[in-house]
Subunit: 298 residues, 2 copies
């Protein structure tokens, strides 16, 4: 059995690029962050058998785990820059690390981020990512939604759910949104001056929009339409989409929709505390749940 | 089964205190760090059955997990300020969280740090901590040791090992160093101007001193003496001590020893690449291993 430092030295250190902001690279007790700017940071955990299938290629475990953590940086209007990586693994080997580190490398290139440190230890497979990003001048929080604001999503719902089905049916994985989530990297710089609140849809549109409503002390109405999902209305509670759900005042509606044809207006913020979904006849559609909840099924 | 937000809202949010540097508290996609200063950060994972006994009181799981992560901040001469907390738990309940959050609260008070965010999800019990600290003007890295430097430890070795034995024998836990590691909070401000390299002894003195030697391209000789451990020479490879092992030029020897009577000089840096332990007759003592290694026994 190889030791911890074998895997760190061989596979992870080469991914850690020293820079002015992150001058140390992997190899000491701590990583240094010398930004001088306001930072945002977030931690996200992906567990084997819970957040990804147990038999998933380590390349995709890496890519997906970092992607869904970095998604929180975009959700606040930030620019992702770096991350710490915690790997708990029952029995690592070179083959696993070779594939896993390729996934990290591809993600780092796709989103221009840097691995700056972390930990490797023994246990059930668990990937813990702490992400860092430059904070925007105006943070996009969950609590800025106001009554009358319009509600948008940055792309169609349901791609994550479909990606997992495709993966199980052994379909081509190269553009699979569950395995390699595409994040709104090019949209955010143009969008961030126009919105009042924002969240990434990780657990499901309804549960995540409820988080905005709860933080902003408002309610919301969604007008269900076929052009906001790819399969059916259950895509509203599917999660794993990593699209942005955001609110904006009505004056910016056209400007926002002109940014990208994938952006859809889905409803508006109302008084109250509830998130209601209405069909074309303005009848309320009830859902059995709002989205994914880690402790629901146990 | 309660949901994720129940535990976060009830037990973790009250521990998150808004401040100028950490203005947001728990409750959005990211935490904000508005320090304007150079930061250091590190990630450390504690796994049930690997890093702590499975049946351990959650109070101690919390205290110990945060302590051993914060130890890395002291090892680089920093001042710990905050941490992100990732909890993977198979089936949380209020009783577990009540005890766990008391452990966090006591640690936060003992070391003046703040919980600023994190994640809670489902899986085998795994506590992932990302710590933040103010960086000192001169970082205490592993690579600053020079030939001729003296080697010191900040306190006796073996307290962690004895703490675990005591715990198993149901002895009083209040001052147990395995369950509630004491970190060198008061020593560091006085020490940090005097040392050339530093590491915290987490996995064992020999393995951690070797990390300094490897980073500094030097070797080391330890003169074994009964006044550096509490039980026997196996305390040199026991780990879980979280004392500092550091090097300094000979001119500062008396100044360093005068800082605290618990500080011991244990050897000196030499040419070469090896760490040798000599007994009183200058005979080399061989150890079967250097310290704790997560993947050794599998």
């Amino acid at each position: 059995m190889e030791k911890e430092h074998h895997f760190i030295d061989k596979y992870l250190k080469p991914l850690s690029i020293k820079s002015e902001t992150y001058p140390t690279g992997i190899g000491d007790d701590c990583a240094v962050i010398d930004s001088g700017e306001r930072l945002i940071t977030s931690k996200d955990i992906s567990v084997s058998g819970v957040h990804f299938p147990k038999e998933l290629d380590p390349y995709f475990i890496a890519y997906r785990s970092v992607a869904i953590a970095i998604s929180d940086i975009f959700a606040m209007g930030g620019t992702p820059t770096a991350y710490l990586l915690g790997i708990t693994h029952p029995k690592p080997n070179d083959s696993w690390f070779e594939s896993f580190s390729r996934g990290l490398n591809d993600f780092n290139e796709d989103y221009d981020v840097n691995l700056i440190g972390g930990d490797l230890t023994r246990g059930e497979l668990n990937i813990s990512i702490t992400v860092f990003g430059q904070a925007p001048d105006n943070l996009l929080t969950r609590k800025g939604a106001n009554i009358g604001d319009l509600i948008f999503i940055s792309d169609l719902l349901g791609k994550g759910k479909k990606g997992l089905i495709d993966y199980r049916e052994n379909r081509d994985n190269d553009t699979n949104h569950y395995l390699k989530p595409k994040l709104p990297i090019s949209l955010m710089p143009k969008l961030k001056q126009l919105v009042t609140s924002c969240i990434d849809v990780s657990d499901g549109l309804l549960i995540d929009l409820k988080r905005i409503c709860s933080s902003s002390n408002v309610g919301a109405i969604i007008h269900l339409s076929e052009d906001i999902y790819i399969t059916d209305e259950h895509d509203l509670i599917a999660g794993d989409d990593y699209v942005l759900c955001f609110t904006a005042t009505a004056e910016f509606k056209e400007k926002i929709l002109a940014l990208n044809s994938s952006i859809k207006m889905i409803g508006q913020i109302e008084e109250g505390t509830k998130v209601k979904v209405l069909n074309k006849n303005n009848e309320e559609i009830k859902f059995k749940k709002d989205g994914w909840e880690p402790f629901e099924s146990i």
